[in-house]
C-alpha cells in the first residue's frame, strides 16, 4: 500500500510537470513592450516553484516508501541536523528565493505601473458597463468632451453620455465598440466604469486592470505586433460577465487612420 502510494505521488508529480515543461498551455505570445520582464519573471518563478514542487513531492514519496516498512529491529531515529537544520535551510533557501523573486518582481511591476506615459502617447478612453466595453477617441481637436452620466442612453447609443449639441469638445469625439490602435505607438488608456466593477484584460498585451466605479484609472502600453486580439472582463460584473468582451485590432498607422475615418463617418 505505502509503496503504491509513493509511486502514485511520483507519477502524479511527473504528469503534472510535463505540460509545464512542454509549454502545452502557456502564456499567450507577448505583443507588448513591457511584457518581457513579466515573462522572465514567470519563467524564473516557474523554475524555482517547479524545483521545490518536484523535490518535496519526491522526498515525500521516498520517505513514505522507505519508512512505512522499517527493517526488523530498526529503532526510530531523528533526521541528522534535526529541526534547527531544517529551519535554517527553509529560511536561507526559501528566504533567499522569495527575496530574489520579490526584488526582480518589482522591476517587472514598475515597468507597468511606475512609468508615466510619454507626452506623445495616444489617449484612448474606455468605458466598461454591463456588459460591453465602449471606446472613445478624442477626434481632430484631441480633446475629450465632458461626460454627463444622466444623459447616458444605450438605447440611443449615447453610451458615454456626451452632449454633442452643447459641448464643442464632444462634437468630434469618436465612440466605437471595437478598439483599434496603431502599432508601436504608446497608448494612454483612460479607464472608467459606468456601473459596476469590471476589468480590462488582454493576455497578449500583458495588461490587466480593474475598472473601479468612482475612480478614473489609467494604464499605458505599446503594442508591437499587428493582429486582432480580444479584450475580456475578469471582474465578476453580473450575468453577462462571460460575454463581456471587445476586439482589439493592432494596425499600421495608415490602416488605423482610415479605420478612424470610417468610424467617424458612422457616428
Amino acid at each position: 500500500m505505502a509503496k503504491v502510494f509513493a509511486v502514485t505521488i511520483i507519477v502524479i508529480t511527473i504528469l503534472s510537470a510535463i505540460p509545464v515543461v512542454l509549454h502545452t498551455w502557456w502564456l499567450a505570445p507577448d505583443i507588448s513592450t513591457h511584457g518581457g520582464p513579466i515573462d522572465e519573471q514567470m519563467s524564473e518563478t516557474m523554475a524555482e516553484a517547479g524545483i521545490s514542487f518536484l523535490a518535496s513531492q519526491i522526498i515525500l514519496a521516498l520517505f513514505i516508501w522507505r519508512f512505512s516498512n522499517p527493517r526488523p529491529g530498526e529503532k526510530i531515529r531523528n533526521l541528522p541536523g534535526g529541526a534547527p537544520g531544517l529551519v535554517a535551510a527553509a529560511i536561507m533557501l526559501v528566504g533567499a528565493e522569495v527575496i530574489a523573486l520579490g526584488i526582480f518582481g518589482v522591476k517587472a511591476w514598475a515597468n507597468v505601473y511606475f512609468t508615466p506615459p510619454q507626452a506623445n502617447a495616444m489617449p484612448v478612453q474606455v468605458q466598461a458597463g454591463q456588459f460591453a466595453f465602449y471606446f472613445r477617441y478624442p477626434g481632430p481637436d484631441g480633446k475629450f468632451g465632458p461626460l454627463h452620466p444622466e444623459m447616458i442612453s444605450e438605447t440611443s447609443q449615447n453610451v458615454f453620455g456626451l452632449d454633442v449639441d452643447h459641448d464643442p469638445d464632444s462634437k468630434d469625439d469618436i465612440v466605437t465598440a471595437e478598439m483599434a490602435i496603431p502599432i508601436n505607438r504608446e497608448i494612454h488608456l483612460l479607464m472608467h466604469s459606468k456601473d459596476v466593477g469590471h476589468s480590462f484584460f488582454v493576455p497578449e498585451l500583458r495588461i490587466q486592470q480593474d475598472f473601479v466605479p468612482g475612480l478614473d484609472l489609467s494604464v499605458h502600453f505599446t503594442a508591437t505586433k499587428t493582429g486582432r486580439y480580444e479584450i475580456v472582463c475578469t471582474q465578476l460584473c453580473g450575468l453577462g460577465h462571460y460575454n463581456m468582451r471587445a476586439f482589439l485590432s493592432v494596425m499600421s498607422q495608415e490602416d488605423f487612420d482610415s479605420w478612424l475615418k470610417k468610424q467617424a463617418a458612422m457616428q
Binding site: 502510494f5 502524479i12 503534472s16 509545464v20 498551455w25 502557456w26 502564456l27 499567450a28 513579466i38 519573471q41 518563478t45 516557474m46 524555482e48 516553484a49 517547479g50 514542487f53 518535496s56 513531492q57 515525500l60 519508512f67 512505512s68 522499517p70 529503532k75 526510530i76 531515529r77 531523528n78 533526521l79 531544517l86 529551519v87 529560511i91 526559501v94 523573486l101 518582481g105 511591476w109 505601473y113 454591463q130 444622466e150 447616458i152 442612453s153 453620455g161 459606468k194 459596476v196 466593477g197 484584460f201 493576455p203 490587466q208 480593474d210 466605479p213 468612482g214 475612480l215 480580444e230 475580456v232 475578469t234 465578476l236 460584473c237 453580473g238 450575468l239 460577465h241 462571460y242 468582451r245
Partner: protein, 580 residues
C-alpha cells in the same frame, strides 16, 4: 435529561461538536452537488440537466442553465464550502469535541454560549439556503460580493436584491456564531487546562484550534460590520459602497459617493485570515495523526507551533495581494507583496518539519495516515502556486484566472478536506465507539487523491493560458480550445464527487454496525485516549480529572504499555522530546 436537552439544545461540547460535524456534512454535500451542476454546465453548456428546473424555474428554463443561475450556483458553492464546511468542520466540529478533552477539562467554560454558537451558525446556514427559494434566487455576486454589484440592488441582476440581503444576513449571523465559538475556545485553552497541562504540553491539534480561534476572533469581528453596512446600502439606501453617477440599464442610480474599494479592504482583511482559519486546524490534525502513526514525535513541537503562529500573524498583513489589480496604489501592492512572499517561510518550515519527521519513522499506513500524507502532498502542490500569485507582476497575468481557482482549491479546499477526513478516520472510534471500515476508507482515499489532482492540476494550466474564472461559457474565441480540458475536468469531478458517497456510506454504516472500538485503538498518548469510556462520559473523565505528567507525544520510548507513554500516566520516561 430530556431528549431535547441531551441531543438538540445540549450543553455538552461533545454533542455540539457532533452537531457541527453533521452541519458541515450536509453543507459539504450541498456544495458538492452545486459544483457538479456547474461542472456539467462548463463542459456541455447547453446540456439540459434533468430536473434542474425544480431547483429554479427561472434559472433553468427547459433544464438549461442560464448564465445568472450558473453564477448563483457558483456563489452558493463558494459560500457554503468556505463558511459552513471549511470553517465549521475542522475548527468548530473537531475543536468542540476534542479541545476540552485534550486540555483535560470537563467542558467548555461557557456551555450556553457554545450551544448558541452552533444554533446561530445553523440559522445562518438556513438563511443562506433559503435564498434559493426567495425572489429571483440567491445572489450571483461571488463569495467576495464585490461592491457595487452587491450593493446596487435588484437592478444589478437576478439575485442582487433579496439574494444579497439574505447572503449578508447569513454571514453576519455566522460571524456571531464563530465569535461565540472563539470565545469558548480561547478561554478553554487558557483557563481550563487540567493539573500539569502547561501550554507547551498541549497537543498540536489544541494549538491549531487555539491559534485559529484567535484569528477568528479578529477576522469575523471585521466581516460582521462590513455585512451590516452592505445590508444598510440595500435596505436603507445608504451609500457606503456605492459611488455616485452609476448608470445601470439606462437608469441613473440614486446613491452617491460610496467607496467600492472600502468593501474590498474590509472583506479581504477577513478573507485572507479566513484561508488560514480553514487550514491551520487541518495542520494541527495532520500533525497529530502523523505523529501517532509515525510512532515518533515531530522534530520540533515548538517550531511547528511558532510557525502556525507566524502564519496567523502574517495572514493579516498580506490581504492586499487579492487586490493587486484592483486600482490600489501600486506601491501598496508591493508593500503587500513582500509579506505574502515571506509567509512562504513558515509554511515551508512546517512542510519541512513534516517531511523531516517522516525520516526514521515507523510509519503505520492506515486511512487516517494516508489522508494526512495526502494533505501534505496537496499542501505542497497548492503552496508552490502561491509563489506566482504573491508577485504583482505575475498576478497581472494570473489574477482572476483558473490558476487562482486551482491554487485555493488545492491549498485550502482539498487540503483542508483531507485534514477533515484524516481527523474523521482517526477520531471516529473515540466519537462513536466504533471503528470505520478501513477497506472502504482506502478506496475512498485513492479516488479522492487521484481525482482531486485530476481536477485541480489542469486548472493551473488553463489559468496560465488565460482562462478567466467565473465564466459560465467560453464564448471568447481564444478560450474555445479550453473546452475539451473542461470536459475532462468535469468527468474527473463527477467521479471524485461520486467517490465521496463511499465515505458517506462508510460513516453511516460504521456508526451503527462498525467493529466496536477500544479506548485507545491507535495507541495514542494525548488525553482524548485516556477517557474512562469510549465515547467519553458526559463529563469526559469521570469523577477525577486526569493529571498530566508528560509532553504530549511520548512515542518511541520503552514503557510498560509498549512504545509510548500517555500524558496522563505517572510512569517515568526519558522523554524523547525535550530538546526542542
Amino acid at each position: 435529561m430530556s431528549f431535547i436537552r441531551k441531543y438538540i439544545f445540549s450543553l455538552d461540547h461533545k454533542v455540539i461538536g457532533k452537531q457541527y460535524y453533521g452541519l458541515a456534512l450536509v453543507a459539504a454535500l450541498v456544495g458538492m452537488v452545486l459544483s457538479w451542476l456547474m461542472r456539467i454546465h462548463l463542459g456541455w453548456t447547453n446540456f439540459a440537466i434533468p430536473g434542474l428546473h425544480f431547483l429554479s424555474a427561472n434559472g433553468a428554463p427547459g433544464n438549461v442553465m442560464t448564465p445568472e443561475f450558473y453564477l448563483q450556483l457558483m456563489t452558493m458553492h463558494a459560500t457554503i464550502m468556505v463558511f459552513f464546511v471549511l470553517t465549521t468542520a475542522p475548527f468548530a466540529a473537531f475543536g468542540n469535541y476534542f479541545l476540552p478533552i485534550q486540555v483535560g477539562a470537563e467542558d467548555m467554560p461557557f456551555p450556553h454560549f457554545n450551544m448558541m454558537s452552533f444554533w446561530v451558525t445553523f440559522v445562518g446556514f438556513v438563511v443562506l439556503v433559503a435564498s434559493f427559494f426567495v425572489g429571483d434566487g440567491p445572489t450571483l455576486g461571488g463569495w467576495t460580493q464585490y461592491a457595487p454589484l452587491s450593493a446596487v440592488g435588484a437592478i444589478g441582476g437576478p439575485g442582487e436584491g433579496t439574494g444579497v440581503v439574505l447572503w449578508a444576513t447569513s454571514i453576519a449571523i455566522f460571524c456571531v456564531g464563530q465569535l461565540l465559538g472563539s470565545l469558548n475556545f480561547i478561554t478553554t485553552t487558557l483557563d481550563m487546562r487540567t493539573r500539569g497541562m502547561s501550554l507547551w504540553r498541549l497537543p498540536l491539534t489544541a494549538w491549531g484550534w487555539f491559534i485559529t480561534s484567535c484569528m477568528g476572533l479578529t477576522a469575523f469581528a471585521v466581516l460582521m460590520p462590513a455585512c451590516i453596512l452592505l445590508i444598510l446600502d440595500h435596505v436603507a439606501g445608504t451609500s457606503f459602497f456605492v459611488p455616485s453617477n452609476l448608470v445601470i440599464s439606462d437608469q441613473l442610480q440614486p446613491h452617491s459617493g460610496g467607496s467600492t474599494l472600502l468593501w474590498q479592504h474590509l472583506f479581504w482583511f477577513f478573507g485572507h485570515p479566513e484561508v488560514y482559519i480553514a487550514i491551520v486546524p487541518g495542520m494541527g490534525i495532520v500533525s497529530h495523526v502523523l505523529i501517532t502513526n509515525m510512532r515518533k514525535p515531530m522534530l520540533s513541537h515548538r517550531v511547528l507551533i511558532y510557525s502556525m503562529g507566524a502564519l496567523a500573524v502574517l495572514s493579516y498583513m498580506v490581504y492586499g495581494h487579492h487586490m493587486f489589480v484592483s486600482g490600489m496604489n501600486p506601491i501598496s501592492s508591493l508593500a503587500f507583496s513582500f509579506p505574502t512572499l515571506l509567509i512562504t517561510i513558515p509554511s515551508t518550515i512546517i512542510v519541512l518539519i513534516w517531511l523531516g519527521s517522516l525520516y526514521g519513522a515507523k510509519l503505520r499506513i492506515n486511512t487516517a495516515t494516508l489522508f494526512a500524507l495526502g494533505f501534505i502532498s496537496m499542501f505542497i502542490s497548492g503552496g508552490v502556486s502561491g509563489f506566482f500569485l504573491a508577485q504583482p507582476s505575475i498576478d497581472i497575468m494570473l489574477h482572476a484566472t483558473y490558476f487562482v481557482v486551482g491554487h485555493f482549491h488545492m491549498v485550502m479546499g482539498v487540503a483542508a478536506m483531507f485534514g477533515i477526513f484524516a481527523g474523521t478516520y482517526f477520531w471516529f472510534p473515540k466519537m462513536f465507539g466504533r471503528m470505520m471500515n478501513e477497506t472502504l476508507g482506502k478506496v475512498h482515499f485513492w479516488c479522492s487523491f487521484v481525482g482531486t489532482y485530476a481536477i485541480f492540476m489542469p486548472f493551473h494550466y488553463l489559468g496560465m493560458a488565460g482562462n478567466v474564472r467565473r465564466y459560465q461559457a467560453f464564448v471568447v474565441d481564444y478560450m474555445h480550445p479550453f473546452i475539451p480540458v473542461h470536459r475532462f475536468i468535469t468527468v474527473a469531478a463527477l467521479f471524485t464527487g461520486a467517490s465521496q458517497l463511499i465515505f458517506l456510506y462508510n460513516l453511516i454504516h460504521s456508526r451503527f454496525w462498525g467493529v466496536p472500538a477500544t479506548d485507545n485503538p491507535w495507541q495514542g498518548t494525548s488525553l482524548e485516549w485516556s477517557t474512562p469510556t469510549t465515547p467519553p462520559p458526559h463529563n469526559n473523565f469521570g469523577d477525577k480529572l486526569p493529571e498530566v505528567y508528560h509532553d504530549p507525544y511520548q512515542y518511541g520510548v520503552e514503557s510498560t504499555v509498549g512504545d509510548y507513554v500517555m500524558q496522563a500516566s505517572p510512569e517515568k520516561v526519558k522523554s524523547a522530546h525535550e530538546e526542542a
